[in-house]
Subunit: 383 residues, 2 copies
């Protein structure tokens, strides 16, 4: 049977609800109109609610990487040092951003798939007095690993000079993260992950400490956060924002608030648990020792190239899952369950994995094994 | 009568065709999927056709300002000099971008509303040997003025070291610009102007000379053009692109190619001519001595604040036109006729100007005077 439907089970872009697509396709608004200003200010308010912060959310027209660059370029002076947790592709990105902007990265290297050991972060901070910030992912998407950012926040009480800058691109909307309570000074996210909106917008929040640390003349014009802050407090942006995407994000955030941030987090926790149970029932192992709730990275069984699983899923079944990146390419595949995803989507994802693995010669399971395990998790959850 | 329809007659964002909005709202694609790659490569090809260049168009997820920053950060080394034509808000932006990136701006200052005198550009080049580029707007949107970029291209034959870097954000899709023939090495445009797509994408094209000048380690990570070029030639992007917007842009470019780039330019020329005839028939004057075909800047008559014209048009009639910026605020209003605009839209724009002016006390005309003048232009054009 040839696929007639396309399904998107990648860790971003993710599936976008019909309601959000409808909002996206409304006639374009003028970015300086009172009508748009109102939507923009409401969107910022909704972001504060979803991200649980009293800080200032700034909406940028860029991918999440743009917001990461904005953080590095606006919160550090060249010559400053920052502790950088590097346990995957996005940790590497922090490190690369530091180098471009003349920030000295004190790298805490973590085996890909492992969560960072808080003792290593503490050691890096102790051995490098005067460090101005810690750069970390809440979820390292490339390995499907969640780091203990709350723990890092605790640690930082003893290092008041260091800002906690957390890339939550695949964490916000997956977890219920009390940003302020955890001591996250700067939180970053993107539209195209659990926020259920097409790609093109990034968000960076700044608490008061972070606002006070914004440098006067950053070496970036487009990502000048001082200028953005001044504008966005008035419902404006420094440069033309992606108005249709903002209207879509507004709608998506309303959906999250309607479902309830806590409920959304419980749903993701359950989707992840069921996925993990499913793949284990096939005799497979997870890459991560601290698996994230937004995306599950699965070690491809011996003799099966993870890229082939992705290929079969897409070409034969119309379902897009993700492979591994860098040295994990071929060794893993990743099932995302982030955003506009329910239990049947998770079961579909497991089914396609079963079908692809059978075709690729791995057959230490019977059809339906992963589905059974996942359904049992769902059924007993009472959610 | 209360307005029940909204009409957008601003110089960006502009009205988006229903067909493009439909494309925008198609289910989100994975940016690394073969399906998206094909669309992306086709979009790049369409851009080459519309922009008439054999250079490399790079699509960036940002406003046009992002592409301007990319040009300055990737084509100059700190300490280089560039001639900058400053005759409005966007000329100023070039100058500011130079300062952020350590490029010395040799400013050719032009009265706002005037086109640059080529002799002044030539003098700046002669007096500053070793200048590495000329930064100019094809249309200076803030004043509705078109500069003679073709002439600058001619001049530069005697200054082979200098790249011609042209901001065509409100020029491409308005004019039929033979980019390569005019000697434009780097051309910039944005999605939300005459390209009839919502805001969020910018385009920068590089010819071979420009590609060879890309610096190895630009002081920007998100806008690293060397990295983008390598990816985009394969139909990829360095970071997640705004996939829905790319699909929409693809559709809009197809519409332009179907209508024909030359026909599109003739349409804009006529819309502009009719607008100019209309406002003159009301006894009003244009700001510009070299009026652009995408937007007409009109001097507000004595005793009438241009911002009030904008306000009445929007609040009473649901029609958004633009005011003046910086020191022109209050002194002008701007009618855009760029992109998805036909003769009836132009007539509507003139009508609302008539209505607003009457209400604001300027009555040296009879209702319909501007409409008559514009209709005569349209009728006699045989277009």
């Amino acid at each position: 049977m040839k696929p007639i439907k396309k399904r998107l089970l990648t860790p971003g872009p993710t599936m976008v609800p019909e309601r959000v697509l409808e909002a996206l396709s409304r006639p374009t608004l003028y970015h300086r109109s009172p009508e748009f200003k109102e939507i923009f200010l409401e969107t910022r308010k909704l972001l504060k609610e979803v991200m649980r912060t009293e800080g200032e959310p700034l909406i940028l027209t860029s991918s999440g990487t743009g917001a990461m660059e904005a953080a590095v370029a606006n919160l550090f002076e060249p010559g400053d040092s920052a502790v950088v947790v590097v346990g995957g592709k996005f940790g590497q990105r922090w490190e690369e951003l530091c180098r471009v902007h003349g920030v000295h990265p004190v790298v805490v290297s973590v085996e890909w798939g492992k969560a960072v050991d808080l003792k290593d972060v503490e050691r890096a901070l102790s051995e490098n007095p005067g460090v101005k910030g810690v750069l970390v992912q809440i979820c390292e998407t490339s390995t499907g690993t969640v780091h203990d950012v709350r723990g890092i926040g605790e640690l930082l009480k003893n290092f008041p000079e260091a800002l906690l800058i957390a890339d939550g691109i695949t964490a916000y909307g997956v977890y219920d993260i009390p940003t302020d309570e955890w001591g996250i000074d700067v939180a970053i996210t993107g539209s195209q992950k659990a926020l259920m909106t097409p790609p093109g917008l990034a968000v960076i929040t700044l608490n008061e400490r972070a606002v006070n640390r914004l440098v006067e003349s950053p070496k970036t014009y487009y990502f000048n956060l001082k200028k953005e802050l001044k504008q966005q407090q008035k419902g404006q942006t420094a440069y033309t924002t992606a108005t249709n995407l903002v209207v879509a994000l507004n709608e998506a955030l309303k959906m999250i608030v309607e479902e309830g941030v806590e409920s959304v987090a419980r749903r993701h926790s359950l989707l992840a648990e069921a996925t993990r149970a499913g793949v284990k029932a096939l005799g497979l192992e997870l890459l991560s020792n601290s698996p994230a709730n937004g995306v599950t990275a699965v070690l491809s069984p011996e003799g099966v190239n993870g890229q082939d699983v992705v290929k079969v899923a897409r070409e034969r079944y119309g379902i897009t899952i993700a492979g591994g990146q860098e040295h994990l390419k071929g060794k893993i595949f990743r099932l995302s369950h982030m955003g506009y995803v329910d239990q049947f989507d998770v079961l579909t994802g497991l089914e396609v994995v079963e079908l692809a693995l059978k075709e690729l010669g791995y057959d230490r399971f019977n059809f339906g094994d992963s589905v059974k395990a996942a359904m049992e998790v769902f059924y007993s959850s009472n959610l």
